[in-house]
C-alpha cells in the first residue's frame, strides 16, 4: 500500500536547516497495523504527515497504492486523501462550532455522500462508539475519551483504506486509551490498514509491526511478539 524510497523532509528557516526525515525507505502492506516509536523530535509526526499527504516531502519517492503521490498538487492530494485516508490526532481536532453528529458527518460532505446515507452511517457509527446519546453536544461538552471516539468515528466514516493516528491515546487516561486502542484493533481486524505514532510501548504492541526512528531515520523494524 505504501512504499517510500529515500523519502526526506527538510525544514528551512533563515538561520537553520532541520532534517526531519532523512532518506527513509519504508513499506507498509495492506491490512498491516504499524506503530512508529521514537524520542520527541525524531521525525515520527513528520513521517505521518508526509505519508498522510498533509505535508509534501522535500525529496525521494512516495508511492501510495501503486501511484507516485509525493509530487502531486494540493488539489490532487486532497482528492486522494478524502477517499482513502482517515486521521486521528492526539488533541482530537474536532471543530468546536460543530456538534458531534456534524463533526462525524463532515468528511462525507466533501465526498458528496447523499444525505440519507450520511445519516445512516453517522448513526451507525455513533451507536457503535456508544456516544449516540451525545450526538447534539458540542465537543467542549464531552470528556476526552468521548471526544477521541468521535474523532475516530469521523476518521472512519468515509471507510478509508488507511488510518493515520498520531498519539491517539496521548491525551487520555488508561481506561479511555484502552477503549480507543480496542477500536483501532477492531478496525484493523476488519481490514483497515493502520499507521500509528505513539510513545507508549503498550499501545505500540496493539499493532503487528513496530518501527523505531531516530534523527529522521528508521533505525529498527520489528514484528510484535505474537507475530514473530
Amino acid at each position: 500500500m505504501i512504499k517510500t524510497t529515500n523519502l526526506s523532509k527538510v525544514y528551512r528557516t533563515e538561520e537553520v536547516e532541520t532534517t526531519a526525515l532523512n532518506e527513509v525507505d519504508l513499506e507498509i502492506k495492506e491490512g498491516e497495523f504499524v506503530s512508529v516509536m521514537g524520542p520527541s523530535g525524531c521525525g515520527k509526526s513528520t513521517l505521518l504527515n508526509v505519508l498522510g499527504m498533509i505535508d509534501s516531502p522535500s525529496g525521494g519517492d512516495y508511492h501510495f497504492m501503486g501511484e507516485e503521490v509525493g509530487r502531486l498538487s494540493e488539489r490532487k492530494r486532497s482528492n486522494v486523501r478524502k477517499h482513502n485516508l482517515g486521521f486521528v490526532f492526539q488533541s482530537f481536532n474536532l471543530i468546536d462550532e460543530l456538534t458531534v453528529y456534524e463533526n462525524v458527518e463532515l468528511p462525507m460532505l466533501y465526498t458528496k455522500v447523499p444525505a440519507a446515507e450520511r445519516k445512516q452511517r453517522v448513526e451507525e457509527l455513533l451507536e457503535g462508539m456508544n456516544i449516540m446519546h451525545r450526538r447534539n453536544h458540542f465537543p467542549q461538552q464531552l470528556s476526552g475519551g468521548q471526544q477521541q471516539r468521535v474523532a475516530v468515528a469521523r476518521a472512519i466514516v468515509n471507510r478509508p483504506k488507511l488510518i493515520l493516528a498520531d498519539e491517539p491515546t496521548g491525551n487520555l487516561d488508561s481506561a479511555n486509551g484502552d477503549e480507543v486502542m480496542k477500536i483501532l484493533s477492531q478496525l484493523n481486524s476488519e481490514g483497515t490498514t493502520i499507521l500509528m505514532v505513539t510513545h507508549s510501548q503498550y499501545c505500540a504492541e496493539f499493532g503487528n509491526r513496530i518501527i523505531r526512528m531516530l534523527d529522521g531515520q528508521v533505525v529498527t523494524e520489528n514484528l510484535v511478539k505474537q507475530y514473530l
Binding site: 494540493e74 486532497s78 478524502k82 486521521f87
Partner: protein
Amino acid sequence: MWQNYFKVATRNLLKNKSFSFINIFGLAVSMSVCLLVIMLIHDAYQFDTFHPDSGRVYRVLTDAQRKGGGEESYATTPFPIGKTLAEDYSYVETWTPLVRRLNAVFTRQDKQLEMRGLLTDSTFFDVFGFKLESGDPATALSEPNSVVLTRESAERFFNKENPLGQVLENQTLGNFKVTGVLAPFPGKTHLEFDALGSLSSLEGIEQRVTDWSAIRNNWNNYYGTYNFVRLREGVNRETAEQALAQISKEAYADLELESRDAGYRFRLQPLESITPGPHFSNNMGRGMPDTLIWFLTMLSGIVIFSACFNYTNLTIARALTRAKEVGVRKIMGASRRQVFGQFITEALVVSGLALLMAFVMLQATIPLFSQLQFLEFTDVSLKLDLPTAAWFLLFSMMVGLLAGALPALVLSRFQPVAIIQKLQNTRLFRRVGLRKVLLVSQFAVSLVFLILLTVSWRQVNFAMQGNFGFNANTIVNVNLQGQEYNRVLAAFEQNPNVVQTSAVSHLMGTWQDSDVDVRTKPGNEPEGVRDYFIDDQYLGNLGIKLVAGQNFPDNPTQARELFAVVNEKFLTHFKLGEPAEAIGKSIIVGDSTVLTIRGVVEDFLYKPLSYALEPLLLRYDPAQWQIVNLRLQATDMPAAITSLERSWKKVDKSNALSYQFYDETVRENFASLYDMMWIVAYFAGMGILIACMGLLGMAIYSVETKAKEISIRKVIGAAPRDLIRMLSKGYLVLLAIATVVAVPISYLLGSKMLEIFAFRISMNVLIFLPGVAFLFFLGMLTIGSQTVRAALGNPVNNLRSE
C-alpha cells in the same frame, strides 16, 4: 454543504459577540448611508423612462464657441436645424420642436394664472409618451392658437368644468382655445410645462411681439427652441451628427453671427441621458446633476470601503482562531475553493445581517434627509419599491464579497499541516504593515471630512453675516403676478404699514440673473454686464448710496429709459475715469441702445458671495418690473401681512398675495450650501464612527492577544499607568500620522473649495484644530476603553489559563 457553512457562520458570530457586533454594526452604519444614496440615485434615473423607443430619441445641443476662446453648451438650438435635419435626411424618423414662446400670464374670466408653455405640434405625441385624456392628439395642436393643458392647469383654471372649447386670454400673445387635456404624466420627465400651444401660433405671435427675436427661420437664435429627433432603427448617433455638421456649414456660410460668437457645433444628446446629465444653459426641468451623483457615490464609496476594510482587517487578524478548523476541514478533504466558499458565505451572512440593521437605521435617516431642499430642487424622492429593494440585496452581496474576499483567500491558503505544528509559529501577521497603513488612511479620510466640514461651516456663517451693501431688513417683496405696477403701488401706498415702495425686475442678493452686452464705443468688443431694471425709488428704499451724479429722475416726462446708473467697478472695468468724470458719458447696450450715465453708486455686493464683485448696470423700464419692494414699519408683522393681503385683494381678487421677506430670501440662497454641509457632516460622522469601530476592534484584539504579557508585566511590578501607556502608544502614533497626512490634503481641498467664493474666510490653524482634537478625543476614548480594562484586571486569570 451550504447548510453546514451557514451553521458554522452563525455559531461563530454568536461565539464572538463583540467582534461580530463591530463587524455587523460597522457595515450596517455604512450600508445605511449607501442605501440612502442608492434610493436617491435609483430615483434620479427614473426620468423620461415612459417614452416609446426612447433609445432612438435625441435632443440637439448647441456648443457656442466664443470669440475670446471657450465654449458654452446650450440645451436649445436654432429652430431651422431640426427642420432641415428632418426634411433633408431620411434617417430622421420624426422631429418635434418645443419652442419657448408661451410663458405668460393667461386670464380666464376673473382668474389670472402664470403658465409655462411650449409651442409644438402633433409630432409631440409621437415622440413622447404623453397621452391626452380629452382631445385628439392628431388635431389638437393643428390650428393656430390652440392649447393643450396639463390636468393640473386645467383644474386651476376650470375646476370641474369641461375645459374643451374654452378660451384663455393674453393681451400680448393672443387668445388660445383649449383643444385637449393631458392625462397625468406616466412618470417623471425633464420636460416642464403647464401648457402646449400649437406651433402654427408662432407666426401670429411673432407678428404681435416684434421685439422678440424671430424663431422660425433664424439661425442665430439658438436660445428659443428645443429640437428633438427620433432616428430610424439602426441609424447611429455619429451619422446624424455628421449631417448636423454639414447643415451648419451650409447655413452659417454667409451669415453674420452674434457679436460674441465665433461659431457653433451641434450634437445629439440621448433623451435617456438628459436627466441625470450634465448641466447646459437653458436646461429645462429639474433633476439631479450628474456631478452630484458622482459626489454622493464617491462619499458612499469611501464610507463603505472603510467599513469593508474593518471587516477584512479584523477577520484576518483573528484568522489564527480559525486555523485549526481550516486545517481539519482540509484534512477531511475540503478543497481550497470549498474553504474559500465557506468564508465568503460567512461574509455574506454578516453583510446580510448588516443589511437588516442598515434598513432599520435607514428608516430613521429618511425623515432627516427628506427635509433637505436639494431633493425638491432635483425632483428626487426617497421611496422604497421592489427594484430599489433588489438593488439593496445586490449591494449587500457585493459588500459581502468585497469584505470577505481577502480573509477568505488568506484562510483558504492555510496548509493542513499547520494545525499539527504549533499554531503560535504560524506567520499570519506579515500584513501588519499594510493593516496599519489602512488604519491610518481610514482616520486620515475621516479627518479630511471633519476639516472640510469646519471650512464649509465657517464659510457659510461668514457669508450669512456678509454685508450685502443694501438694506434688506423689514422689506417684503411682492410678486406683481402680471398685475399693473401703478395699480399695485397705489393699493400698497395707502397701507399704513408701508413706509416706502420701489420696483425691480429681479432680486439682488439672489441667484436670479440677467445680463446685457455693453460697449463704450461702437467698434469695441461687447462684454456681458449684469443688469437690473429699477424705478426711481429703488436706491433710496434699499439704502444704496450714490457717490456721484443723480438717481433716475422722478419726472415721467423725461425719457428715463435712456439713463443708466452704474457702480464704481463698472467705471474701472470700462475705463470711464473717476465717478464725477463718468457722469454724462454714453454707453452702448445690446445692439444699439445708447444710454447716458446719470449716476454712480458705490460698490456693493449685489450677488451671493460666490460671485466676485462685478460691473453693475441699473436701468429704468417699467415693462421689466416684476417685483415691488415694500419697506414696512410694523411691530406686529403677522398683522401687517394680513393688511398687505387686504391691499392686494383690491387689485387682484383671484390670486393670493405672493410675498417673501427679503432677508429670508437672501438666506435661502444658502440652502443648497447648508444641504451640502449637512451631507458632508453626515458622511463625516459615519466615517468617524466606522473608523472608531475599526480601532475598537483592533484594540480589543491586541489586548486579547497580549493578555499574558500584560499579566506577566503586572506580576513583575508594572503599574496600570505604564500598561495603559504601553498599549496605547502604538495607536496614538498612528493617529498622529493620520493627522500629518490629513492636514495638508484638507488644506489643499479646503482652499480649492473656497475658490468658488469671491469673499471667503482664510485657512488658519483654527480651521484644523477642532477636527484634530475631536479625532484624538474619540481615538483615545476608544483605545482607553480597552486598555484601562486590561490594565486594571486581575493578572492571575490570564496566567492560570495559560
